[in-house]
């Protein structure tokens, strides 16, 4: 603004003086306005393109690092006889086609089936790539490859819109991309940090639920329930708690929907309450590891398990409560922060107060620790 205010005075004075330099400055000054009137939007677009380009460079680097980490981890843990690189490259391009939703009745079961097929297929691929692995390592490697796959996908989508915007010189395509880019980069960075955690089998922030469940069930007899979950009967404040979590310590979320349904049916619906513990996305400004309490099925993912749990509890009119540990997307998929690990006792206190206030002595309650149980045993 200062420059703009000074220029007319300056040029006027100089023109008055009849100097050649003052005339040049005057022409430049007019040109400056003409250029900005007619090409302002285009200049803004080029600035946005440059910003997208720099993010794309970073995404490309992340993708290369992710691929390299996946290959090195598979070679190190899996001891494959042949080079797994071509198979990994093929794996990174896998896609899943969701069910048709023109007639949505029964879509949950179709989606459930497709997800089961995908899961089995990806695990088989990992076993072929890394034959010298146990079950927990197969889960960890699958998680590692899925994180690499996510980064690869993000890079390709951003690149697609960047090239499309550049080709068509569409201001709005580039502008939309530039606007969502900070969130996209945050997600990509979260996956990049998740990759190392998965490769090393470290607990991640999403494992807050399984960690609480593991603390409750540790030392008690544990049995398997469908699918990929475990349950233990634990005495809890004069009640009997049926504690459910995904089977660890491999990177596994299990299918808590099936597990809850199975346990409710085993007990013929005589369950006083279901309490779900999960990691919940925090809003900006909220502290990491804060514990909050509410109502409903606290479970993320594509919705299949939430649907199954809601079906089961509605059939037997079982009340459902939720306790969440707040964290952002980066914390949820990167190695568990101390604040989250320390929140376990706070969560247990909340669960205890809910159980004491809302159930009677001798009742049976289901406590479900939802999330990825990587690095958390039982």
């Amino acid at each position: 603004m200062n420059v703009l205010a000074v220029l007319p005075v300056l040029t006027g004075q100089l023109l008055g003086a009849g100097d050649i330099i003052s005339q040049i400055i005057s022409v430049v000054y007019i040109l400056f306005f003409v250029v900005f009137i007619f090409y302002g939007q285009r200049i803004q677009m080029y600035a946005a393109i440059r910003e997208v380009e720099s993010s794309l460079h970073k995404l490309k680097y992340m993708r290369e690092e992710a691929r390299k980490t996946a290959i090195e981890t598979i070679k190190e843990i899996g001891k494959p006889a042949t080079d797994p690189t071509p198979r990994i490259d093929r794996y990174l391009e896998y896609f899943t086609i969701g069910p048709q939703n023109m007639d949505p009745a029964g879509i949950v079961w179709k989606l459930d089936h497709i997800l089961d097929v995908r899961d089995a297929r990806l695990k088989d691929e990992v076993k072929l790539m890394a034959p010298a692995t146990d079950e927990a390592q197969v889960y960890n490697l699958e998680n590692t490859l899925e994180a690499a796959m996510a980064i690869n996908f993000i890079f390709k989508v951003v690149r697609h819109f960047y090239i499309q915007g550049k080709k068509t010189l569409s201001f709005y395509t580039i502008l939309q991309l530039q606007m969502i880019l900070p969130l996209v980069m945050k997600e990509a960075e979260a996956y990049a940090s998740a990759l190392k955690a998965f490769a090393n089998g470290q607990p991640i922030g999403d494992g807050a639920g399984p960690l609480v469940a593991a603390k409750l069930m540790h030392g008690y007899e544990v049995r398997k329930v469908p699918k990929d979950c475990v349950v233990a009967t634990v005495p809890f404040e004069g009640r009997s708690a049926l504690v459910i979590k995904a089977e660890g310590p491999g990177g596994n979320v299990g299918k808590p929907g099936d597990a809850v349904k199975a346990v409710i049916e085993e007990n013929e619906g005589k369950i006083a309450m279901v309490i779900m513990i999960d990691a919940g996305l925090k809003l900006e400004g909220e502290p990491v590891g804060e514990v909050a309490e509410g109502i409903g099925a606290a479970i993320g993912g594509p919705g299949v398990d939430q649907f199954k749990i809601e079906e089961s509890i509605a059939e037997y009119h079982i009340p459902i409560n939720a306790v969440i540990v707040k964290e952002d997307i980066g914390d949820a998929v990167s190695p568990m922060r101390k604040e989250i690990a320390d929140s376990v006792d706070k969560v247990l206190e909340r669960v205890k107060s809910v159980v004491l206030e809302r159930t009677k002595e001798g009742d049976k309650v289901i406590i479900v620790g939802v999330g990825n149980t990587i690095g958390v045993g039982q």
Binding site: H57, M62, A192, G201, A214, M336, R337, K338, G377
Partner: protein
């Protein structure tokens, strides 16, 4: 996760650099003119002040753009991750040890026997400590 950025990402844009150079050159010319106008008061008494002001503003803006570009390059480099620690406890003696995470560690894994008693030690926590950035917001 990583300590370096890609080579292409760590360069300051040539275009930005050339524009900044051009602005610096023009500012120097402007300072020269200001000096000459100061000597020749027939050009108007305040012309040299305007010229000088213009060149100072130009230099400030060009330096700001250059520093912003450098800061942008710095943020391109991803940070070194904090170390992941494993807490090992002997429940009987209430002894707690913290060491660096090793591949194969998991929470509630049983380890070798405690040195003081015969009870097995277990891993009770695996976590990373992140230093919180200073809050910039008043709420």
């Amino acid at each position: 996760m990583t300590t370096n950025s890609s080579q292409t990402a760590s360069r300051i844009s040539t275009f930005v650099f050339l524009v900044v150079l051009a602005v610096y050159a023009l500012a120097i010319v402007s300072i020269g003119l200001a000096i000459s106008f100061y000597g020749d008061q027939s050009q108007g008494s305040y012309t040299w002040i305007y010229m000088l002001g213009l060149s100072i503003v130009s230099i400030t803006l060009a330096t700001y753009v250059l520093l912003q570009s450098r800061r942008h390059v710095t943020t391109m480099k991803t940070a070194v991750p904090p170390q992941v620690m494993t807490t090992i406890e002997c429940r009987k003696c209430a002894i707690k040890n913290v060491r660096e995470f090793q591949r194969g560690d998991y929470v509630y894994k049983e380890l070798e026997k405690c040195q003081k008693c015969d009870d097995k030690q277990i891993i009770t926590a695996i976590y990373k400590e992140v230093k919180e950035k200073e809050k910039k917001y008043p709420f």
